[in-house]
Amino acid sequence: MPLKNAHKFTVPHLQVLSEKGTLDKKLDPGLSETQLLRLYRAMTLAREADQRMLRLQRQGRMGTFSPSTGQEAAACGPMLALSERDWLVPAFRELGAMLMRGVPLHRILLFWGGWEEGNVFPGVERTLPIAVIVASQIPHAAGVAYSLKYRGEKDAAVVCYFGDGATSEGDFHEGMNFAAVWKAPVVFICQNNHWAISTPQEKQTGSKTFAQKAIAYGIPGIQVDGNDPLAMYKATRDALDRANNGEGPTMIEALTYRVSMHTTADDPSKYRDTAEVEVWKSRDPLIRLRNLLNERGLWGEEKEAALLAEIKGEIDAEVRIYEHGIEARSDIAFDHVFASPGVELEEQRAAFLESRGGGSTNA
């Protein structure tokens, strides 16, 4: 066995709906009207909510947050493929995914507003909260997926999001490896939005694609046009099918772009050209899907206006809940250190309450 190319690997690239709006018939996942409209609504809601959050933040009505404008197809496309039995394990830039999951917007506002209540999703099962420690959710997803297998839940899988930067963390590697060894039912979605704060791909990795990192784990990796919601749906659907068939994890790289700042505390003009941003703005995933809807006669200016009005109302209502609706017992943190606080913590709680003059307040 002398020098020979013993092992060969390929990483496919998937696009279903081109930038110009042409649909690849062979690859069309055949979404129903309802599904297409649901997807478009979700993406629009995510966009509008994102813009509103930016304003709330600028007005001092919310804390620092990480906008997701431009990434709606990557966040929402996959979610159309999920059932209630599947788990969602997000990073922190999947507003659209969380909304599609049924997490009310006001919960997300609460999160960025500095309230733990933003991680509590009453009635929404199998959904982990936002993960702030980059990549740490990846082994969690592998563990959740193991538990599905352990319990014999063959109809369920995990969808786990993370960014391009996250792939550099040891936890990405360890989580992917565990999932692969276990053939655990999990779909890893890397939102390659081309930046990790100020770090571009070439400073993040020596590899041409992020999808090829799947080869290291012996699992399929696929690079997808992340601004193409149909491709994102299809890739996820296929990966979920593999997972449900016991074939293990898949890694999807979604090629997209963070058109806004990293967080509201960030100034991207320090490190990137607006020319690059403009190129990507012109690839707006909302426009792409709207064009398809238009073409199919499912959409028009009137419908668009009505949708925007409806969404605005919805967002207004959620903002109101966010700003007025939360009981803010100041000592609640003492309740949740452990299942039961114990003597010492109760003593400290008393000291805490005394230190703020006793009683509870509303924010």
Partner: protein, 321 residues
């Protein structure tokens, strides 16, 4: 002690199908110290998982399992490698309950052999319980013998939160002790008064308990001192009440700690005595501990870890103060 822990694992896995065991070489090989003996044969490889070689991956996936309702008992092959998993311990185990106001929690046990005196390689001899104990939301327990090891492990597995279970490997096969037929459940957070006394309180935990008891008998033999000995068992939460009660009675105290002197558990014990019993003290609280140096390789580890003689001398000093 190996058998005590092993028994608890068998019993708990039998009792609750949600309990599983995971770690490097814990399955077919039954653990490098054989703590998981018989589990793989009995419960199979789905419940007794030989994981890849990755500590953060072990704890991180265990967190995921716990969030999904399982009860993993995850092993770090040696505590010296547990720092690689600290991200999940600090970032998730300790916080998920607080983060979600109780909607989600991480009920898992993180087992790890720790401690010195067994002529082991570098990184295999440290005691760093204080680092974990500084984290709110994490419980840290350390057994000192077969019986309390089994009772503590049972309690740790049934505990609704993350428990770091540190196993003094010097005590793994140090002595035998009968354990009751029926599983016992220890109350995490309670210290054990091993023997009562009125003139001096000696507080310790883990492998230091046996050495302390030896030193205590020597001292008692020589000078009829009445010594109270407390086995901490739970490093965090710490049983301040039992400590305070004892020191108020005796007025003198020595803390015996295997870890380096500074920023260790002994310092916290002293701080709590300061809070609750300072005016009863007739002498400074004695600290018998290792030195603030990097653990020497085993050819030179003698006299680095506190020995019976060091403890005896510490006691005499405090008694004579």
């Amino acid at each position: 002690m190996v058998q005590g822990i092993n028994l608890a694992l068998h019993e708990e896995m039998q009792r609750d199908p949600k309990v599983l065991v995971m770690g490097q070489d814990v399955g077919v090989n039954e653990g490098v110290f054989r703590v998981t003996a018989g589990l793989h044969a009995k419960f199979g490889e789905t419940r007794v998982i030989d994981t890849p070689l990755a500590e953060s991956g072990i704890l991180g996936t265990a967190v995921g399992m716990a969030l999904a309702g399982l009860r993993p008992v995850a092993e770090m092959q040696f505590s010296g490698f547990s720092y690689l998993a600290l991200g999940h311990l600090e970032g998730h185990c300790s916080r998920y309950r607080a983060r979600t106001h109780g909607a989600l929690s991480v009920p898992l046990v993180l087992r790890m052999p720790y401690g010195g005196g067994v002529r082991a390689l570098e990184h295999h001899s440290e005691s760093r319980e204080a680092m974990f104990a500084h984290l709110p939301g994490i419980k840290v327990v350390i057994p000192s013998g077969p019986r309390n090891a089994r009772a503590l492990m049972t309690a740790a597995i049934q505990d609704p939160d993350t428990v770091v279970f540190m196993e003094p490997k010097h005590s793994y096969r140090a002595f035998r002790e009968d354990v009751p037929e029926e599983p016992e459940l220890m109350d995490i957070g309670k210290a054990h008064v091993v023997q009562e006394g009125s003139e001096l309180t000696v507080i310790t935990w883990g492998a230091m308990l046996r050495k302390t008891l030896e030193a205590v008998s020597e001292v008692q033999a020589k000078r009829e001192a009445s010594v109270e000995v407390i086995d901490l068992l739970s490093i965090s939460p710490m049983d301040t009440k039992t400590i305070a009660k004892s020191v108020r009675k005796t007025g003198r105290c020595v803390v015996v700690q295997e870890a380096p002197r500074s920023f260790g558990t002994a310092s916290e014990v002293i701080a709590r005595i300061n809070d609750t019993a300072l005016m009863y003290l007739e002498a400074p609280v004695g600290r018998v501990a290792s030195f603030d140096i990097v653990t020497p390789y085993f050819a030179r580890e003698q006299n680095y870890f506190p020995g019976v003689e060091d403890i005896r001398r510490g006691m005499i000093k405090t008694l004579d103060y």
